[in-house]
């Protein structure tokens, strides 16, 4: 069987890519994409630890499913916000959305 560390390394890599995307991209939609990557890397970790730990304990799987649900909800809200901002400000660049600044 593939060792556990492979999964962890893969997940860490995916997480880093996601984090990089979030920090570096200016487009709000792309930032959301980065967040999705980070969440899914967490899911990989959860599934991997479940598989290599006590298989009878369903906790890992259940958590992964919960994360899916949360991610879906989050994207729905996030995209809605982005659309709403775009309609008002005609832009989706994160730096330009600074109305909340002091």
């Amino acid at each position: 069987m593939v060792p556990l560390s492979w999964y962890l390394i893969f997940a860490a890599a995916l997480f880093s890519i996601g984090l990089f995307g979030v920090l570096s991209r200016r487009n709000a939609v792309a930032i959301l994409l980065g967040i999705e990557l980070m969440l899914n890397s967490v899911n990989i970790n959860l599934a991997a630890f479940w598989r290599y730990g006590d298989v009878l304990q369903m906790t890992g799987q259940v958590f992964a499913i919960i994360v899916f649900a949360v991610a879906a909800a989050e994207v729905a809200v996030g995209l809605a916000l982005v659309i709403s901002v775009y309609r008002r400000r005609n832009t989706v660049v994160a730096d330009e959305i600074n109305m909340m600044k002091w």
Partner: protein, 723 residues
């Protein structure tokens, strides 16, 4: 179902009815009375089954029904000791259960008619006041044209509430009768005390009813406190309150020999005396008799319930129950006999001068209860029980009959519209025998039973037995007193019957009186049946001609309750002649005197001292009530409250005020407000001003910052903890 279980279940239906009516069916009058009467019927059925089964048990006194007591209250002594409660049906409870079940059922049924079920809602009726009648339009042959208006009785505004209360009352009585220990007996006793308060004050908007309710409650409470003391003493002396355990030779012997240290009485004597004071309160014996006549303010079924079937009987039942204990001490017995005989005569003399039809009966109840107590005091156990049972039947009959009369008179009052006429005053009646024949005949039977009309009525046999016992055991003083009281009883009963039913109508209202509905007359007929026949079960064996025809079942049966079976007293012709003379003489004399009396002014027995009940209310008012008010006003209010307590408080006020200002000026304002309050705000303001430069509004900067801090903390943790 086993008999034991059935006995446990007997008290249950009325209390369920109480909760159902109070919580759910209060609005629906028909449903409420159906539930209450149905509950009474169930209890009645259970009681009759138990009674019949009790009759079939040989030596019921030694082997009472009821089974094992159950654990109830854990006691602190050790893990497995419990205060046990149980049910007990011995001959005494069996005969009591019999009459209680019957009278309760009759009273429930009667209440339906008495509170005008089926009549329209009154024009101006208020909850808390008796119904005043409703106006209805009378239609001629053409239904469209009303020919006139007339007033009919209206339904009681708090109809359901009444049935709830009497249900709880019945529960209390059944609990009391079926208890096998003094504690649950006391619980039933107190439930009835509460219910009597609620029911006497049923028409609470009437000030007189309110006062009477409070008076009854407080007066009986005086007796109850002493009774509770007696129960506590008994428990501390013996460690048990169960009748099965107290009435064993060992415990009775101990109680009889241990001195109590009070007045030279034995423990048994003192306990007996304390319990007897409870009875004095409950059964309205001298000197706590004052509440009972005032209790007539309640609706009539309540009077019957309280004065015949339940509450006052409960007092006598309790002393009869405790007879083996009370009879241990001759001093206590002498007190019991004296109080009983004195009350019998004392109350009878007052009854002679009363004009209110219910008050006459109230005093006669006090007097008859005195007969029972006196019988017990001279050791005539069976005679006391016998009179208790027969009295319950005929007195319930008389009270319900008087209620029927009042109801008929109220009809007349509504007809004429003259509300100044008191429908309870006997001088406003007369000639009612033609208007209310069923009420008349049943009342006559009840009245004759109360007077002890020879041979046919139950009252004769029970009263005769008391007199025979008093004579046979040589208690001449008691015998003479009771004989005089019996004469007066017959006299005032005949006065009542003559004034109410015989002669001609003295007022217009009496002319328009009307017979009451079947729900009221049926109970009268049934109770009249028992008022006659119940005496036949206790005919002494050596009675001339009749003795031995019917076996003296009652004596055999009830006598078996006691460990030593009491001997029937030797037959003697003197007490028999006496009771014949007093009953017939009193009746004749009453008729002769009152057949031509037409108004209170012509009544020569309206002596002020009798009319005013020997001024007992006034004396108590002077001796107890006024001083209590004075004490409350002058000592507690003026001195204690206003001078002492308020004085102390007035010192506290200024001192606290000074202290408060000092703390405010020297601590609160400078330290708390200035330093901590304003200071922390200023610091936060300054800090916030510096920090706001960080808030660029660029999300990715925030994230970057977070990442840097996260990595920094992670590195620090790694460095300090792991390396």
């Amino acid at each position: 179902m086993t008999t034991e279980l059935l006995i446990w279940l007997i008290p249950l239906p009325p209390v369920l009815a109480f909760f159902l009516i109070v919580l759910l069916t209060n609005k629906n009058k028909a449903l409420s009375h159906t539930i209450a009467v149905g509950a009474a019927l169930l209890s009645w059925l259970g009681s009759m089954i138990v009674f019949v089964q009790a009759l079939g048990v040989e030596h019921l006194g030694e082997h009472p029904l009821g089974g094992e007591p159950i654990n109830w209250l854990p006691l602190g002594e050790s893990v497995d000791t419990y205060f046990k409660i149980g049910v007990l049906v011995d001959p005494l409870s069996a005969v009591t259960l019999f009459f209680v079940a019957w009278t309760v059922l009759m009273i429930f049924l009667y209440s339906v008619g008495y509170h005008n079920f089926g009549q329209p809602v009154g024009d101006h009726d208020h909850p808390g006041l008796p119904p005043h009648g409703a106006t209805v339009e009378e239609h001629g042959h053409q239904r469209s044209s009303p020919v006139g208006k007339h007033v009919v009785p209206s339904i009681e505004p708090m109809y359901s509430r009444f049935f709830a209360f009497i249900g709880l009352f019945a529960f209390g009585m059944f609990v009391l009768v079926l208890s096998d220990n003094l504690l649950t007996l006391f619980v039933g006793w107190e439930i009835m005390g509460l219910c009597s308060y609620l029911l006497i004050g049923f028409w609470y908007a009437k000030p007189s009813a309110r006062d009477a309710a409070i008076k009854a409650f407080i007066t009986t409470r005086i007796g109850d406190v002493f009774m509770l003391l007696g129960i506590a003493y008994l428990y501390s002396a013996t460690g048990t309150l169960s009748f099965r355990e107290i009435f064993t030779e060992g415990i009775l012997h101990t109680l009889a020999t241990v001195p109590s240290g009070v007045l030279g009485l034995s423990a048994a004597g003192l306990i007996g005396l304390l319990l007897f004071i409870g009875t004095i309160g409950k059964s309205a014996q001298f000197p706590l008799h004052v509440w009972l006549p005032d209790a007539m303010e309640g609706p009539t079924p309540v009077s019957a319930m309280i004065h015949a079937a339940t509450m006052v009987s409960a007092g006598v039942y309790m002393v009869i129950r405790m007879f083996p204990l009370i009879s241990l001490d001759p001093t206590t017995m002498a007190v019991v006999a004296f109080i009983g005989a004195f009350t019998a005569l004392f109350a009878a003399t007052i009854a002679v001068a009363q004009n209110d039809i219910k008050r006459v009966l109230a005093y006669s109840t006090i007097s008859q209860l005195g007969f029972m107590i006196a019988a017990l005091g001279i050791g005539a156990y069976v005679a006391a029980v016998f009179h208790l049972v027969t009295h319950a039947f005929f007195k319930a009959l008389l009270f319900l009959g008087s209620g029927s009369v009042i109801h008929g008179m109220e009809h007349g009052v509504l007809h004429t519209g003259n509300h100044k006429v008191d429908p309870q005053d006997m001088f406003n009646m007369g000639g009612l025998r033609r208007k209310m024949p069923i009420t008349f005949w049943t009342f006559l039977i009840g009245g004759f039973a109360l007077s002890g009309f020879p041979i046919i009525t139950a009252g004769f046999w029970s009263k005769d037995e008391i007199l025979a016992d008093a004579f046979g055991h040589g208690h001449t003083a008691v015998f003479v007193t009771l004989a005089v009281a019996a004469f007066l009883t017959a006299f005032y009963t005949m006065r009542q019957i003559t004034l109410t039913f015989l002669g001609e109508a003295r007022t217009k209202e009496a002319e328009h009186a009307q017979e009451t509905p079947w729900t009221m007359t049926l109970p009268l007929v049934i109770l009249a049946f028992f008022a006659v026949t119940y005496g036949w079960v206790g005919i002494p064996e050596h009675f001339p001609a009749l003795g031995g025809l019917v076996p003296n079942w009652f004596h055999e049966f009830v006598g078996g309750t006691l460990a030593e079976h009491p001997e029937a007293v030797e037959f003697s012709v003197w007490p028999l002649l006496t009771s014949l003379f007093v009953a017939l003489g009193g009746l004749t004399f009453g008729w002769l005197v009152y057949r031509n009396v037409n108004s209170a002014a012509e009544d020569r027995l309206q002596i002020p001292v009798l009319k005013n009940k020997y001024y007992f209310d006034e004396i108590y008012d002077r001796v107890f009530v006024k001083p209590a008010y004075w004490f409350a006003e002058a000592v507690i209010y003026k001195f204690m409250d206003q001078s002492v307590i308020d004085g102390i408080l007035h010192i506290f006020g200024p001192v606290t005020d000074r202290l408060g200002s000092a703390i405010r000026n020297y601590f609160d304002l400078p330290v708390i407000n200035r330093f901590f309050g304003d200071g922390s705000a200023n610091v936060t303001y300054w800090f916030g001003g510096k920090l706001r430069a960080v808030q660029t509004g660029r999300i990715q900067q925030y994230l970057m910052l977070a990442l840097v801090v996260f990595i920094g903390i992670g590195a620090a943790l790694y460095f300090f903890l792991l390396a």
